[in-house]
């Protein structure tokens, strides 16, 4: 068990500089003891619900008065020991390390676990969880895989209603439409602030470093979104005041990290070599709707419509009538990107399959690419650093 990182509540109000705020958020993001969650539970007496990436409708969980917590594995801080006898070594780190965290008591705060049907690993993980932790509820969320077919609408709505009922039974209180709509507003605001942060970064990457923005977003994994909104507002204020020196960088997009997360050091290494990552799918869990979802009408319908039509495309959702390659290339144009980095978690099949097709599409469009795999527990970044340096140089000097 890691020591509790005791943060004063609303610590963002007490940070005078960007660096202080980033440091606090870094500790929160990497805290596998989940002290912020335990603290929230103590304060409110509410339930905390773990959400496996990617497309869990956290709005619904928050509307039930629970704290949705985005789980992103053990951030490279545990040895896989107990989980090894449940899930084998040729499986991605996040599944194994999340289970390890639970088997070692680090997730004892978790009152429920929502697992979406993103891949074979996640699907089976839900069953392993049920056997090992029979006391917590496990909700398996089936995400429609054919988003343009009409039956998907009713079906997904029924799925969400079922989750709503499970939450209601758990808390003993109904989830009203008004509460759900309010929750949607809070999440919309959160997405707006995160987009603003990303827009700033795309405009001035040196001013808003990737690893900093990453932990600012990461703090939202364990905080109520309303509080995270305040934090992001503070961040935008402080970030604008920073003075930084310009340097030669190349503008790149990073893809593949929508579920399992790379070590923070890897993101830092990329930046140090001169990759200005101006768009990414890191920790996509929290911002998977591409834009705001409807704030009028039936709130459940807003979540359904948002999922069927308005999600960010990843290898684990159905693109419907859109195309993942076209989507990526549009993104690259909009952000004036010079190259694409495909960083896939080792053993993550969805990411690895898509990397082949997207890499081909990028290269055909004349965009240089860099591809590598990562693991949660990787500690040596030299090879990635060298590859990235060559990549940056080739773009700076030859294109």
């Amino acid at each position: 068990m890691t020591p509790e990182v005791a943060k004063p509540q609303r610590f963002w109000e007490q940070c005078d500089t960007w660096e202080q705020l980033v440091q606090c958020c870094r500790e929160l993001t990497l805290d596998i003891g989940f002290s912020a969650v335990r603290d929230w539970k103590r304060r409110t007496g509410g339930s905390a619900i773990g959400c496996f990436p990617v497309y869990v409708p956290q709005e619904l969980i928050a509307a039930a008065g629970c704290l949705p917590v985005s789980l992103f594995g053990a951030r490279g801080q545990v040895e896989i020991d107990h989980a090894d006898s449940r899930i084998q070594s040729f499986v991605c780190s996040i599944a194994r390390s999340t289970l390890e965290l639970a088997l070692t008591g680090n997730l004892a705060w978790m009152d429920g676990f929502v697992v979406p049907s993103i891949c074979d690993v996640a699907r089976n993980l839900s069953g392993v969880w049920q056997r090992n932790f029979p006391e917590a509820f496990v909700f398996y969320l089936h995400l429609p895989q054919n988003v343009v077919s009409d039956p998907a609408r009713d079906y997904y709505r029924a799925e969400l209603s079922r989750l709503r009922t499970v939450l209601e039974c758990h808390t003993g209180r109904p989830v009203s439409d008004a509460a759900l709509m309010e929750s949607i507003r809070v999440y919309n605001r959160n997405r707006e602030l995160l987009s603003e942060l990303y827009r700033q970064r795309a405009a001035q990457p040196e001013q808003w470093p990737l690893s900093h923005v990453y932990v600012l977003a990461g703090a939202g994994n364990v905080l109520p979104r309303s509080e995270h909104n305040e934090l992001l507002e503070a961040a935008l204020r402080l970030g604008r005041q920073r003075a930084v020196t310009r340097r030669d960088t190349v503008r790149v997009v990073l893809r593949g990290a929508f579920c399992e997360q790379p070590p923070l050091e890897l993101l830092e290494a990329l930046e140090e070599t001169g990759c200005a990552v101006v768009d990414d799918d890191l920790q996509i869990g929290a911002r998977f709707f591409a834009g705001p979802i409807a704030e009028q009408g039936d709130p459940l319908e807003a979540l359904v419509e948002g999922y069927l039509r308005g999600t960010v495309l990843t290898p684990v959702n159905n693109p419907g009538s859109r195309s993942r390659s076209a989507d990526l290339l549009t993104r690259c144009r909009e952000r004036a990107v010079q190259g694409v980095i495909f960083a896939s978690p080792k053993f993550c099949e969805p990411a690895l399959y898509d990397a082949v097709l997207l890499k081909r599409a990028s290269e055909q469009a004349g965009l240089p690419t860099l591809e590598f795999e990562y693991e949660e527990k990787m500690t040596v970044f030299e090879s990635v650093r060298m590859q990235a340096e060559t990549f940056v140089e080739s773009i700076l000097f030859f294109s």
Partner: protein
């Protein structure tokens, strides 16, 4: 088995013949102008597609054939050259290698698809596989979304309704491509054949309750099951199972079975290592091991607990079938199935063959071992290799583990007799 028996070998030979004919029809499809659809084994709704006149390609069966015929390695390497990671499913890589080699395998040249039906039942990799093929062939892709069967509930009506509604849509797509109208009576007729074949297949599976078992429910079942997975809904398929049943009956009459002396009865979980199939079987035969029930033989449908295709409810029963394929069940349901098999078939042990390629099977198999050894005290042997990639089979190591396990089991048995 001695040549004096009348029906011995028929299950295997007739199966080969039927598959050969099917592959020939596929080779001739382009020149005959027959429309071609590709689909997967788990939850395959082949009867519906055949109603529209499609010839059907099952890429998984092609991959399996390449494995057995020992040409998978080259196709897999070819896909890896194209950028596919060494850690992704070997079946997919085998197929990509095949598709980019003129679609020509040991079974002949496969026609291009007019329609790719991704019957997403039990495996998410299916989706990634057909997305890649859709791009390669520029073919239309229909995604049939089959919800995972979750614990503790009967198949939920909304799951059934959801699949049925999509089947109606799929029928519309098929009509558009083939120019043929949906013929409900024709579908019902096909489902009658399906049901008849399923009855016979279940009878064959259940025969393994006998001692000795006349049938190996893994090493033989993987061949015996082929017709019900790829030719279901046809009269030939029913005839095949009638003939196969005769073979089994004859074995029961004479008290013969797949091993000369049945010493151990096991339940096997997981797929076989196709590129080393023979060698793998031999390692068990040496110990007089007969598999009496297996989960792999249920990947394309679970009928031994009563489910059948139903001509009176054609679309609904197709949906029900698709939801009930082995890897489309969650682990609680799968574990219960194995528990039942161990009890109902009087098995001495559970053997888990965990393959790297197939996470749909393997993720959580170690947990199954925990459950059986620790919670139930059932001897459990855990083996690892691959179903497609020949590089992952370490024979010497495999032999050691198998020998050690059955030696210990023998010991345990002697101990309990003496006690």
């Amino acid at each position: 088995m001695a040549a004096s028996y009348r029906y011995q070998g028929i299950g295997r030979d007739l199966q080969k013949e039927l598959l050969g004919q099917w592959y020939r029809r596929l080779e001739n499809a382009p020149q005959n102008g027959t429309p071609v659809a590709y689909l997967f084994i788990s939850g395959n709704i082949c009867e519906l597609l055949r109603t529209f006149g499609f010839e059907l390609v099952f890429p998984e069966v092609n991959a399996l054939q390449c494995g057995i015929k020992k040409v998978a390695g080259n196709f897999i390497l070819k896909a890896e050259d194209l950028g596919y990671s060494s850690d992704v499913c070997g079946y997919v890589k085998n197929d990509i290698g095949l598709a980019t080699s003129g679609n020509r395998g040991p079974f002949g040249t496969m026609p291009r698809p007019d329609l790719l039906v991704c019957n997403y039942a039990g495996c998410n990799t299916y989706i990634k596989w057909f997305e890649a093929l859709a791009e390669h062939f520029g073919a239309r892709l229909f995604l049939l979304d089959v919800p995972y069967r979750r614990t503790g509930e009967i198949v939920r009506q909304e799951d059934l309704d959801y699949v049925v509604a999509q089947l109606v849509q799929l029928a519309g797509v098929c009509a558009e491509i083939t120019g043929n109208r949906f013929d409900r009576d024709r579908l019902s007729k096909a489902l009658e054949y399906s049901r008849a074949a399923e009855d016979l297949w279940v009878r064959i599976l259940a025969s393994a309750r006998n001692r000795p078992s006349p049938f190996d429910a893994f090493f033989e079942a993987v061949f015996f099951m082929a017709p019900i997975y790829v030719l279901r809904g046809t009269p030939e398929c029913v005839e095949y199972y009638q003939a196969a049943w005769k073979e089994i009956e004859e074995r029961m009459e004479h008290g013969i079975g797949p091993v000369s002396e049945e010493r151990f009865r096991v339940v096997i979980e997981g797929p076989p290592p196709w590129p080393h199939f023979r060698a793998f079987w031999e390692l068990f035969k040496r110990w007089g091991v007969c598999c009496v029930a297996s989960t792999y033989s249920k990947v394309g449908g679970i009928w031994d607990f009563g489910l059948r295709h139903d001509p009176a409810r054609p679309l609904e029963s197709l949906a029900e079938y698709a939801i009930n394929c082995y890897t489309n069940w969650d682990w609680t349901l799968r574990r219960r199935m194995m528990e039942r098999y161990v009890a109902d078939y009087s098995a001495d042990a559970l053997v888990i063959h965990s393959v790297k390629s197939c996470r749909a099977f393997s993720v959580g198999q170690a947990d199954v071992r925990e459950h059986f050894t620790k919670a139930l005290d059932t001897p459990t042997l855990f083996l690892e290799s691959d179903l497609a990639d020949p590089r992952y089979f370490a024979e010497a190591q495999m032999r050691n583990r198998i020998d050690a396990f059955f030696e210990a089991l023998e010991h345990r048995r002697k101990g309990s007799v003496e006690a």
